[in-house]
Symmetry: C3
Subunit: 261 residues, 3 copies
């Protein structure tokens, strides 16, 4: 077995992310989101601004129809309820049947043991990417989120882990990148992380390598966050500027601003 | 049987829309909305900005009480779930009993056959206005949405059809108007169409001719969209400017900017 | 039995409110909100801007876990549905067990008799504060909301009543204060009152005297509203400015602007 590969260069990742952004804008993929009620509106607007076409139903009866017509699926566990549990299972089953990429965002599993158990069950269905913060990783994996633990987790549960925080860490076990963009106000707007995960799901729809797609989605989102932060006067205007910045983001800005290690 | 009447003049429609806007501001009608979770907050704010008083409960137990105290009802099928199906039926029954106008917005029925079947069942309850886009009309009526098909549909299902798009077409079978206002960013904000339908429902509460009421609601909304578009820097600021523009819209601006054919 | 005490001075209340704001910012209390779908996103952003950490799940299965980890609970009855009824009861039971303060916001009980009956049942569980407007008080208490009626109600149902309107009245039976800050646009944004009640819940988490906590929460919210009103061009930009103003509000501004009687 080989050891981990060396970290890729910022310029290579930024170049790849720029290409994925252009593809996203050209393809306008449909992204179906099973997400929490708090995040639904902002997530839909962020997807539209990034270039994707959102749908958001959580009705178990019809969700399979929507997922079958979508290019990627986002599953976010914030504000779980009975209907969303059922919808989540139906949506993932449809994504697996249609071979669509899907992303798991196990929001707040550190605060609710039944939610953590549900998340662990969903991981067995092999999401392309799992997006979570440190506390959520600890609740999922039972260990603190250092690089070695992330890699070990991915070896046992193949796919991509995106650990988000001040610095985002993205690994598929073999490759690992640290993404250093972002703005402090991103942590003061509700559903910001949920919306970022939706952009990753949109990138999964247009890029077959889930590790690159995940990096591209997070770079697009956090670079837009930096642009927004330069104009905002507080978290209210930041949320508005964020959507504008995403819609106005181009490949050149992404290349110029991306910082990875 | 007579053929279709000639299209009315812009100046007549703009004048009528201006009067309806003034009436809406003076009467502050209550509009109950059964709408999707993604659209609820924006729809409520748009209704308030237009001069109406929104209520939004979807609890089947109490919705009839709310509809009985409301002046118009909006039924939007985006993110349908079991509770919203029940609530929708209870709300329409109350509107019919109380002889309140109601509007059907069969969102995304082109993506979900069970939702399309539910919409066809609701059409039998005789909404005052049906608001939909071309794909949704095709899913509802089984034919492409040209003028003749719209008129034929309305002959079989009396009421008003508002086909929205870059140009909106509003017909009650005998009369047909094309509305040409709007802004490209309206298509990049989630729930924008849903909120526009809510403004139409508010106009139905203060104008007995549903064809004129529908035109007035759409003109108010799309002219406000043009004003907003002149200030916005992207879809995020556009949503904010849209609410401001609606609240600040006056009869003179409406008259000066309306374009119909 | 003593008569009512004299009204406290503005300077004393503003000073106390300023201290509570500082404590709120330092403690970052967790506030769990069972609130209506229309209000969820705005409420969460307002809580974050005020310095609290929101959680919003309404799943009856896991809500007790969230409330047990929270420092205060908000119960808002807008858009009630079956799940929210169950969740509300489970959340209040957990708050009582853990001795957490909780606030009841019986939205729109004047429009729905079943909702009013539910609210009366919840009052028996002894919320720290009840926040309502005049019509809601009349539906709850069966009498018009004058000062004497408020005091009598609190004698029968110990706690704090906050009657909100152009002037807010806050009484625990013995003490009564009138709060005169605010801005007319606060009435034109949906969920504004709901979000204000959430700020009160956040203050209840850091101040043991529920009467002072309630005053502090309302002053923080209405003074921020005045600051926002000076920058807004309509209700859309007002909502954005409100979140910015809350995040930027400091003790000095609160002291300088508070007006009570």
């Amino acid at each position: 077995m080989h050891g981990p590969r060396p970290n890729p260069l910022t310029s290579e990742l930024a170049e790849a992310a720029g290409e994925i952004l252009v593809r996203l804008r050209n393809a306008s993929p449909r992204v179906h989101s099973v997400t929490n009620a708090v995040a639904q509106n902002f997530t839909a607007n962020v997807l539209l601004a990034a270039g994707a076409v959102p749908s958001m139903t959580v009705d178990p009866v019809e969700i399979a129809e929507f997922v079958a017509r979508a290019d990627a699926l986002l599953v976010n566990l914030g504000t779980l309820d009975r209907e969303r549990r059922e919808a989540t299972e139906a949506a993932i089953a449809a994504a697996i049947t249609k071979r669509r990429p899907w992303l798991l965002d196990p929001v707040f599993i550190d605060r609710s043991p039944p939610r953590a158990a549900f998340a662990r069950m969903l991981v067995e269905r092999k999401p392309s990417t799992i997006r979570l913060n440190g506390a959520e990783f600890a609740a999922l994996a039972g260990v603190a989120p250092d690089d070695a633990a992330l890699r070990r987790y991915v070896l046992d549960h193949p796919g991509v882990i995106a650990l988000t925080g001040a610095i985002d860490v993205v690994t598929d076990g073999a490759r690992l990148a640290r993404l250093e963009n972002g703005h402090r106000l991103m942590g003061q707007v509700t559903a910001m992380g949920c919306a970022g995960a939706a952009v990753v799901a949109a990138c999964l729809a247009v890029e077959a390598d889930p590790w690159l797609a995940t990096i591209a989605g997070l770079l697009v989102f956090t670079v837009a966050g930096e642009c927004a932060g330069e104009r905002a006067r507080g978290p209210g205007s930041f949320a508005t500027e964020m959507v504008d910045a995403l819609a106005n983001l181009d490949r050149e800005t992404l290349r110029a601003r991306a910082r990875t290690s």
